[in-house]
Amino acid sequence: MDDSHSKISDDITIYIDEDHVLISGLEQHHIDMAMAMGKETREWQEIIAGLDSIALTYTPDDISHDEDLLSKAQHFLEQITPENHNSIDRPAAITLDICYDDVFAPDLPIVAEHLGLSPSAFPNWHKTQKFHVAMLGFLPGFAYLSMADCPEMRTATPIKRLANPRNHVAAGSFGLLSGQGGIYALSGPGGWPIIGRIAQKLFDPHASPAALLQHGQQILLNPVTMAEFDGIRQGEKP
């Protein structure tokens, strides 16, 4: 290991690049804390979440020495450890309308089968699961969701990515893998099994922030019919 990597503990490593520091081997609570702090920080240009890591970006001219960077990163790491968690300011939960119509949910039958559910029982099961935004990545506003443990997932046949990824997955599509969800904010390619579509506009380049979903946010799901879905989409048009 060269001098760009510093091992902080058995799990945690700090890696120093020219324009960012990467802290890896983190737990979800560290990352949630870091992202909540990110809105107020003046120390770093930007804080970017990974699933078990964070990147802290900086302007090279602001911090010239690696030793300063390492101590700054260590200081940041101390701030996101559990004893400081009472100060965390989580974003409010958001309710999203989701339609499970066949047209929007091509992979619902197979996913339901893996979970030991009938397709008609799937929506009720899905809406009661606890999803949190664990990371935005892949495509603008695309939300990776962590999913709380549940008996169906524990006994399910693993739900894998599609063998043949689709070239076009519509904006709003909800993908589900074992223990993980993903919401397409914009249309794009991808191999997630798709089990429904969110009615709300999830990415608006002219809004600030452009992405509707924020890191750490809890997702509450409200099943809607196709007619209601259309009504919500129509209502959003100016």
Binding site: E18, H20, I48, L139
Partner: protein, 345 residues
């Protein structure tokens, strides 16, 4: 007054770009912007503009019959448009007459300007005295192709598109010498693109230690730019694959890691084993091992790599990388203040 550019031939890919989207990676918004920001900067400097003013990025990697062409229209015929071109040394003609390179020049109503394929490099940048009449998206005119927003309708330009230019003082007639300042003339055909071989300095990345053999292999052989090369990234293949081994695949990597932040210049090792260098449009997170990163001082070169070019990597420390960056940006200080230039580079 109504003035616009009419796209007559689209080229391989032509987009409106500036310094890109900055500080938005936490929303999974790629940097975008000019793939070779220094060439865009040069074109803007030639017109006396801010280095990050939006211009056209014109990609012409292959011999193309029609190249890229556009026509300047203005209903007040005495109002001309100043342009400057930098980047890959494309042959440029105005109304069929060959242009001398290294010059700013003036377009009159109805003038047709055409780019041909360059002998090396692949992206040419055209700066304009007028502003595009396009909405700013997240403080930028850059085109986010995968996201379908920004620039002109969120996409590459197509034949028949008309980009309206804002009436401004800058569009008005400027008389005078078309020759660029002497100190720029030597730089305008970017000195970093002189042939089909490129040397890129790299530093270690988060998984370099776990993939020590693959990381070392980056520097012990020459690489070839594959056909998968664009603003998203560049896939490399060994330049001289062992003859007896041409049908076996690169070692399959089965390392499982959780997705984490990646950046322009990050070299990923996908399961097929061929290194993939992320470009300015590259996604913000990735799940493949990161085995190196092209240093900041060299990243603008990535915008000029074209299929068939060869690449040699040289591994250096992060400290040396920072020194190289300092040297390069201060080398530019007669043209642009470092604190301004670093915002787009």
């Amino acid at each position: 007054m109504t003035a616009y550019l009419e796209i007559c031939e689209s080229g391989l890919q032509t987009t409106v770009q500036d310094g890109g989207f900055r500080g938005l990676r936490h929303q999974a918004i790629s940097q975008c912007g000019a793939a070779d920001p220094l060439s865009l900067a040069l074109a803007n400097i030639a017109l006396g503009h801010h280095v990050g003013k939006s211009g056209l990025e014109i990609t012409l990697a292959q011999e193309m019959a029609n190249g890229f062409a556009m026509r300047y229209h203005c209903d007040e015929t005495d109002i001309t448009l100043r342009c400057a071109i930098a980047g890959a040394p494309c042959p440029v003609t105005i109304n069929g007459a060959a242009m001398k390179t290294n010059r700013a020049f003036t377009l009159k109503n109805g003038d047709n300007i055409q780019w041909g394929a360059p002998p090396f490099g692949c992206r040419s940048y055209c700066a304009l005295s007028a502003d595009f009449d396009l909405p700013m998206v997240m403080n930028s005119h850059s085109t986010h192709i995968a996201g379908g927003f920004g620039g002109y309708k969120g996409r590459a330009l197509q034949k028949g598109d008309k980009i309206t230019l804002k009436p401004s003082k800058a569009i008005a007639n400027i008389q005078g010498d078309d020759q660029l300042p002497v100190h720029m003339a030597s730089m305008t055909i970017a000195p970093w693109i002189t042939n089909h071989h490129h040397i890129l300095h790299i530093i270690d990345a988060p998984e370099s230690a776990i993939f020590a053999a693959e990381t070392d292999a980056l520097c012990t052989q020459k690489w070839s730019v594959s056909g998968r090369a664009g603003r998203m990234g560049i896939m490399l293949t060994p330049a001289n694959p062992p003859l007896e081994d041409t049908h076996t695949h690169a070692p399959h990597n089965t390392h499982i890691m959780k997705s984490g932040p990646v950046f322009p210049g990050t070299i990923q090792l996908p399961p097929h084993g061929h290194p993939f260098i992320l470009g300015v449009d590259g996604q913000t997170t990735g799940g493949y091992p990161r085995i190196g990163r092209v240093i900041r001082a060299d990243r603008h070169i990535l915008g000029q790599l074209r299929p068939g070019d060869t690449v040699e990597f040289r591994a250096i420390s992060t400290d040396i990388a920072k020194q190289k960056w300092q040297q390069k940006i201060y080398g530019w200080s007669s043209l642009c203040a470092p604190e301004i230039l670093q915002k787009i580079w």
